[in-house]
């Protein structure tokens, strides 16, 4: 256990110091950490799911508190919680199915049934099965309060035979944990594979001789554009440089290395150039449930300009960026102010500032993110396909369970 504790502490520290950049990297680290938390979590005999959920939640809360602006952390924690709940639910149904059998036959049969009937079933299939068959009961459990209530009848009913019960219990525990970890692994795969999934769709959206504007440095956008380039589409890319972090320079460098026609423009020239642009493609930092986007600073300006000139504004987002929260005043509350030294050198204005004499003061504002309201977004491209902003809430509902929205 102590090693998990120290891992969590280390990760929290990293988050707090903003050592990890990019929502994908953060998401990946978070899942991996949660996986080790789950695997190290000693599960009690009763309410194993609840124990796992509590453990994950506890860690999750620490992580979210460490960097509340990095929404990917919260998203991933919720995803893991969702996986636990689904796995638990599918096991419960299996157990309930087994209960029917138990009434008819021996304990051995149950073991057989559990050991042979379901072992190869992957978490996704189980989850899908749970989703299709168990929607009504899950709603019922929701209404009755705690999901654990479903497991209660099983333990109590099988409490009669002690010998076989313990063996059965331990296998069941291992089963849940195993399934959950399997599900988490799948999530990791999904997160690391989202670029390819999104890039596959590039060819459908980029045509010959297209002019594309992008800003910020997003690996998803890079892969997306390169995928289209590999399919022999020729198009040119305008990259806004993205002062004061100049992520655009980074992106431009990568694009040029991959042989794309790239033009770097200043951020102020976005409006001037947008009339000659066919499509704006950006990578999101997070997508809110209302379809709003949090992206690199300056993105709202580009979105407004695109709207003015009726240029499609396309947002690329892996599923780990879908946040189940609705934003309120996101420009301020979901933003982060970086060091002023990126704008003005330290001490540069110290000669003009005279605090004693009640003269003018100087503030420097250097936000990191920008919020784009959903009405400015034309299309979301996620790893599950293209979606309208108004559909995002529904998409998000598939990934999270309602119990976890408030952690």
């Amino acid at each position: 256990m102590p090693d998990v504790q120290s891992m969590v502490a280390e990760f929290v520290n990293k988050l707090r110091k903003r050592k990890i950049e990019g929502s994908q990297a953060t998401a990946k680290c978070t899942v991996e950490l949660l996986r080790s938390v789950i695997s190290h979590q000693r599960v009690p005999h009763a309410n194993q799911a609840a124990a796992l959920i509590d453990a994950v939640k506890a860690v999750g809360q620490q992580l979210v508190a460490a960097n509340p602006v990095e929404l990917a952390v919260g998203n991933v924690v919720r995803r893991v919680l969702h996986i636990i709940r689904e796995e638990d639910l599918s096991l419960t149904t299996a157990a309930m199915a087994g209960l029917d059998l138990l009434d008819a036959s021996d304990d051995d049969d149950i073991d057989n049934c559990k050991g042979i009937g379901y072992p190869a079933m992957s978490a996704a299939v189980v989850a899908a099965a749970a989703r299709s068959t168990l929607r009504p009961p899950s709603l019922q459990t929701l209404l009755e309060g705690t999901p654990e209530s479903a497991t209660v009848p099983y333990t109590s009913s099988s409490g009669a035979d002690s010998e076989s019960k313990t063996a059965d219990k331990s296998s069941l525990t291992r089963k849940l944990k195993h399934d959950v970890i399997e599900g988490v692994n799948q999530l990791i795969q999904e997160i690391s594979g989202c670029h390819e999934q999104i890039a596959e769709q590039a060819i459908e959206h980029i045509h010959q001789n297209e002019v594309i504007l992008t800003l910020g440095s997003s690996r998803t956008v890079l892969e997306f554009l390169c995928a289209a380039k590999e399919k022999k589409r020729s198009f040119r890319v305008f990259v806004a440089e993205g002062a004061p972090r100049y992520q655009g320079h980074l992106l431009a460098k990568e694009l040029v290395a991959r042989g794309l026609q790239t033009t770097v423009i200043t951020d102020s020239a976005v409006f001037a150039m947008i009339s000659r642009v066919n499509m704006v493609i950006i990578g999101a930092h997070a997508v809110m449930a209302n379809g709003g986007v949090i992206g690199p600073v300056g993105v709202n300006m580009a979105a407004l300009a695109a709207k003015k000139h009726a240029v499609p504004f396309v947002v690329l987002a892996g599923s780990h960026k879908l946040c189940p929260l609705y934003p309120h005043n996101p420009e301020v509350l979901l933003n982060e102010l970086r060091s002023p030294s990126e704008l003005l050198d330290f001490g540069e204005f110290s000669d003009c500032l005279d605090f004693g004499a009640g003269s003018g003061s100087l503030q420097v504002v250097n936000p990191t993110f920008d919020y784009v309201p959903p009405n400015l977004v034309s299309l979301f491209i996620t790893d599950t396909g293209g979606h309208n902003p108004s559909y995002m809430y529904r998409l998000i509902a598939d990934y999270y369970s309602a119990d976890d929205l408030v952690m």
Binding site: A243, N300, V365
Partner: protein, 646 residues
């Protein structure tokens, strides 16, 4: 405004007719005899307008209608109605606002202004009767003057010969101006069509004898219009004769004139033959950028920083270049002088030096030689840095003044007149205009305001400092953008004066726009479709502001207005140094693009200006008052008429 365009359409074919008729003078005299009564009756039908005008005073804003009246020979009723409605024509702005301008000399401007419209009004009528004898010409002239609301209706009903004498006393002073302005027009025309109009030019020259130099005449004309009228019939006759002669030969070139008024098509750099030609002429040897942006082939894309050492080396060889111009050119090139006003003033002062040191070469005409000199200097300046629109306007003014110098003036007199003209342009149109703008704009700043400005517009800076002096309490957000970071300079100056500031970059504009109450912007030029041509990024700021429902106030001197129209920022623009983008000043850690500058796949586009659509602009504060962007074409029209006579 519709009715405004009409008269032109009506007048145009007549002018064309004149060009045809001048060649067959004797035959046409009969038809002109017929047309003359028509115009007289037309002006007789106009009295309703002159009664509508609050006074016969020449300072009245109603002085604008005359162009309409004169074309009333076709639509008398309609034009009378139009004249009535246009009593509230936008030029009344100029009047009321000009009046509270502190400088005494500019109170003359309404007078000048109206004279501007006079020229327009009287010229077409006169030219519609080209081949006619002196007397009937004079009659036509005098009958057209009453229509402009100066004298009584009865004059018109009199026979032509009588009218000339009767109205002579009252109209004389105005006619003097009239003929003078007409003459000015002609000397300009004469330059172009000098061979065919030699005789008339002589007549004009004779009339010049009694004329005052233009510099003094403007101040003379201002208030004493009604007072001074010692009429000497002989001089008046002479002047009328001049005007007749003038209009006679005016018929030919007047259309060319109008065509020339339309802005020249700019040099397109994708036209190879012309580029080659221009290169042969060029003083500054520029190497073309290797990695040009395809979309901007039509704009010059040169390697930056290569010309300066070369030019400096050539300093002593450049024989024809005046050192003052040369110095200004180098300053443009190195970026030491930037900003529309600063560049314009520097250029005009260089021209003043040029004029001071000028001496007419033997066997040459001062007017023409100096114009060509100035043109060569201007093309040198263009090679250093493309002209701003404000500079184009100033150059046009200088050339106009040179072209209209009376031939009879001695060289020293002419030089003095030109220098004082340029001085007055700087003082009135640039410095004075800024003072008026400040005066207007300060009324819009209230306590507790949060004002946003972008870049470092001089007018806005003056406004902020003045408001601070008035002890208004406000905060300023300075938004800046790469690569010039001019905002830092503004920020420094504002903080030194004790104004509380917030500094940020243009990407963060949506973040800070929440707290902003007003946006003050500067402009490089305002085009006649209301588009604002300004430092790149202004459009972004204006767009975000209007998205956040924050009013955008644009401060721009009227001499920067231009009749050109532009819809986007691509067709006409200026490209800055592309290397300024790849290298981030003061940030050694940003070096991703080092070594990639010559990669064929990578271009850097450093746009200097952009075009802000007029719907983002709430108000334009100019020296003619605070107007909506839709009023820009009106000011351009009125201003440019005045411009000819400044």
């Amino acid at each position: 405004m519709e009715s405004r365009r009409n008269p032109r359409a009506v007048v145009d074919p007549k002018v064309r007719q004149v060009g045809f008729f001048t060649s067959s003078q004797p035959d046409s005299s009969s038809t002109q005899q017929q047309t003359e009564p028509i115009s007289a009756s037309a002006s007789a039908s106009s009295p309703p307008v002159s009664t509508i005008s609050p006074s016969g005073n020449s300072l009245s804003p109603v002085m604008i209608p005359p162009p309409r009246l004169n074309s009333s020979d076709t639509f008398p009723l309609r034009n009378a109605a139009a004249g009535a409605t246009s009593a509230v024509s936008p030029s009344s702005f100029s009047y009321s606002n000009r009046r509270d301008f502190p400088d005494g000399s500019t109170t003359a401007s309404p007078g000048r202004h109206s004279r501007g419209s006079f020229v327009k009004s009287s010229a077409p009528v006169a030219s519609s009767l080209p081949g006619i004898g002196m007397d009937s010409m004079a009659a036509a002239k005098s009958s057209s003057v009453p229509a402009s609301g100066l004298t009584t209706v009865s004059v018109v009903t009199m026979p032509p010969g009588l009218a000339e004498n009767a109205s002579g006393m009252e109209v004389q002073s105005d006619q003097k101006k009239n003929s003078k302005s007409l003459k000015e027009k002609t000397t300009k025309a004469e330059r172009r069509a000098i061979q065919e109009a030699q005789r008339a030019a002589k007549a004009a020259a004779k009339a010049d004898g009694g004329k005052v130099p233009p510099g003094t005449s403007a101040s003379l004309a201002s208030t004493s219009v009604k007072v001074a009228k010692p009429a000497k019939p002989s001089t008046q006759k002479n002047e009328v004769a001049v005007s007749a002669g003038v209009t006679e030969k005016k018929g030919g070139p007047s259309e060319k004139d109008r065509k020339k008024d339309a802005p020249h098509p700019r040099m397109q750099y994708d036209d190879e033959s012309r580029v080659v030609k221009a290169k042969r002429r060029a003083v500054v040897k520029q190497t073309e950028a290797k990695n040009r942006v395809e979309l901007f082939r039509h704009l010059p894309q040169y390697e930056h920083g290569t010309q300066l050492p070369d030019l400096e080396a050539k300093f002593f060889q450049l024989d024809p270049m005046h050192p003052a111009v040369y110095k200004v050119g180098l300053q443009y090139l190195s970026g030491d002088i930037s900003g529309g006003n600063a560049r314009c003033i520097a250029m005009l002062q260089a021209f003043q030096d040029v004029i001071k040191d000028y001496s007419t070469p033997p066997e040459k005409n001062l007017n023409r030689d100096m114009t060509s000199k100035i043109s060569s200097y201007v093309s040198f300046l263009i090679e250093c840095r493309p002209l701003s629109i404000s500079m184009g306007n100033a150059i046009r003014f200088v050339k106009n003044r040179i072209a209209k110098l009376p031939i009879t003036l001695s060289e020293s007199e002419a030089k003095a007149a030109l220098q004082s003209d340029i001085e007055r342009f700087i003082n009135d149109k640039i410095i004075g205009a800024d003072m008026v703008i400040v005066k207007h704009a300060v009324t819009k700043i209230r306590d507790g305001d949060v004002l946003l400005t972008y870049g470092s517009p001089t007018a806005v800076e003056m406004i902020l400092l003045h408001a601070h002096e008035l002890k208004k309490k406000f905060r300023v957000l300075v938004v800046d953008s790469r690569p010039k970071l001019e905002g830092q300079l503004l920020l420094r100056r504002l903080i030194k004066r004790g104004i509380s500031c917030t500094y940020t970059h243009i990407n963060a504009i949506s973040y800070i726009m929440h707290e902003v109450t007003k946006v003050f912007l500067g402009a490089s030029s305002v085009l006649s479709n209301g588009t604002v041509y300004s430092r790149v990024g202004t459009a972004c700021v204006a767009m975000v502001a209007s998205a956040f429902r924050v009013p955008v106030l644009l401060c721009c001197e009227a001499y920067k207005f231009h009749e050109r129209v532009q819809l986007d920022s691509i067709c006409s623009n200026e490209l800055g140094d592309p290397n300024a983008i790849s290298k981030v000043h003061g940030r050694e850690d940003i070096n991703y693009l080092d070594g990639l500058t010559n990669n064929a796949n990578l271009q850097f586009l450093n746009l200097m200006y952009d075009a802000t659509p007029s719907d983002y602009i709430s108000m334009i504060i100019t020296d003619y008052g605070m107007v909506p962007p839709t009023s820009v074409p009106v000011i351009v029209r009125e201003y440019q008429k005045e411009h000819l006579l400044v």
